[in-house]
Symmetry: C2
Subunit: 339 residues, 2 copies
């Protein structure tokens, strides 16, 4: 089969890879219904995160189970399944506490931008849906649960969003936009999206943003303070991962408020003293998507949310390189790929 391989900065190729096969009794092989390009894929794509050689790409996936290992019990061939970008055994203490993305047997998925995929720890990682999705919109929304929606949801959860909360979302990528959607689902009263990109502002409003702030840095923080009685927001979702965005998030939060951070940090250093006097709660990390999957799938299947709207570019899988280019140049929010 062919799949996406990153060969160097801005050099994604769709090329031959070995067909996946059952390697462990706990594996499943799925035939991809849809996959996509993640904002976090742009770090190595841009050369910010070095790679050591040609690297198969992709970690968001859903599809039909083709084959399962002899120990797999909870999914079977023919089922439509969605899995987390991080595998989990569902039995270790971290999984039991709901932190499946820190499972002691965790592997971060890769190779999902391909027509077939091996999923380790299938019982603990995959969630089957009642049926096979009937249309592309539904498929797109279900695919988001694999990472981007689950990550936005975790950002809101980690930021302690509650009914009535005032929420700020830093980052207008797909995760940030779905952070807006998640905050709305959790009952936030006011949701301030920080964005200076008209198309993304529009989608943020569709997802539930009540206010848009286009200022950044000191000015952005000052604007948030003005809007929040001078003290900052209850909950701030950090969905970028740079020093600037992290400090913007911390400084936009009121003392005693919560920062949920899900942008994979690159070069971020936090001053202990600054954090101490900021007086905020800080929580984040790789989203425990597996914890949220059943609930998110239900919300999608019941038509309560339509997270698939973050896909504004659909491409055949063999044009995956164009998906990266469009996202890198911010021409597209997120690229949906059909094998």
């Amino acid at each position: 089969m062919k799949g996406a391989v990153l060969c160097g900065p801005r050099d994604v190729r769709f090329e031959d890879q070995p067909d996946p096969r059952i390697e462990q009794a706990t594996d499943a092989i799925i035939r991809m219904s849809a996959t996509c390009v993640c904002g976090s894929d742009l770090w190595p794509y841009r050369g910010v995160q070095p790679i050591t050689g040609p690297t198969p790409m992709g970690h968001e996936y859903c599809g039909i189970v083709e084959e399962v290992g002899s120990a797999v019990r909870s999914v079977k061939p023919g089922q439509f399944v969605i899995g987390s970008f991080a595998t989990s055994d569902s039995t270790c203490p971290n999984c039991k506490y709901g932190y499946q993305s820190s499972c002691v047997h965790r592997e971060f998925m890769t190779r999902a931008q391909a027509p077939m995929l091996r999923v380790p720890l299938a019982d603990g990682t995959l969630v089957p849906t009642p049926g096979v999705p009937s249309d592309d919109d539904l498929l797109a929304s279900l695919l988001t649960a694999s990472d981007v929606l689950g990550t936005g949801w975790f950002a809101a959860d980690a930021a302690n969003v509650k009914p009535g909360s005032t929420v700020v979302v830093v980052g207008d990528g797909a995760v940030g936009l779905l952070g807006v959607l998640s905050a709305r689902q959790m009952g936030a009263e006011r949701i301030i999206a920080m964005s200076r990109h008209v198309k993304r502002q529009k989608l943020a409003r569709e997802f539930g943003a009540t206010d848009i702030v286009s200022e950044r840095g000191d000015e952005g923080v000052a604007r948030i303070k003005e809007m929040t009685r001078g003290i900052g927001a209850d909950s701030v979702l950090e969905c970028v991962g740079t020093q600037e965005s992290m400090m913007q998030a911390i400084r936009a939060t009121r003392p005693g408020g919560y920062v949920g951070y899900v942008g994979v940090p690159h070069g971020v250093e936090l001053s202990g003293e600054q954090l101490f006097f900021a007086h905020v709660h800080l929580h984040g990390g790789p989203a425990p998507v597996r914890r949220y999957l059943p609930e998110l799938i239900d919300l999608v299947l019941n038509g309560k949310i339509d997270p698939g709207k973050v896909f504004d570019l659909t491409l055949p899988l063999d044009q995956v390189a164009e998906g990266y280019r469009a996202m890198d140049e911010r021409r597209a929010i997120k690229a949906f790929l059909r094998p």
Copy 2:
């Protein structure tokens, strides 16, 4: 009057200072019943935190109200009162959220190692007790509520200690020891105190520690992991403020667990990436002692807790310099000072 003044590294003098007087209508003047030396006083004492000139010292206090400004309503002359090391108006949004130590009118107290003290924002800062404490043990325990107990309590609260929790306390100073006491009060099942100092280990056990770990750094973390099914503790209280202690705390916490940090950070830098993959909750800062004061005073007056045991050296106030020396050399856990 005379009071403690830090004139340079390890140079504390008991010397003439102006008598405090009402400066604002919201002030109170109190006659000190007892004060003490704080672990955080040792940072400037050791020259780690620079001072710009002779600096009056002390921020833990309790005593009898001598005089109040014309706007003060909730305390009156003759009452015994305890106040937080941070003043608060009790009316601003941060105070309403329970973060009085980030009050928009906050001042950090100083000049409390003296026989008389001006307390700004008396209504919001001071809590009167039903009577005047009848003996020195009670006085000592009440004094701790002003900072050291309230700070240990906040560490446990910020670390989300709940009935049944497994808790680690990093730091065997007075705050750490009272963190042990606080975790016990909050129902922790297992409390592991990290200490290599026999006398402090003993007091930790009296306060409720179930285990002592004397290893530090990598070895200390490995030991905690061994004791916690390989994953780390639910709640870790960081009560020191160095890079080493902070990293020890973060690494001893399980994914999804909580670090409560109250040691004033000195030179601490946290890697965003390390924090992200540690997957912990982080909360701390200057303890909102005022929030806890009524409850802590009740616990002391009802004989439920005896935090005054952290004082293992009693001195007349004019020998305050010896209090600093004894704590600096770790001969004393905490010095109690009587005017």
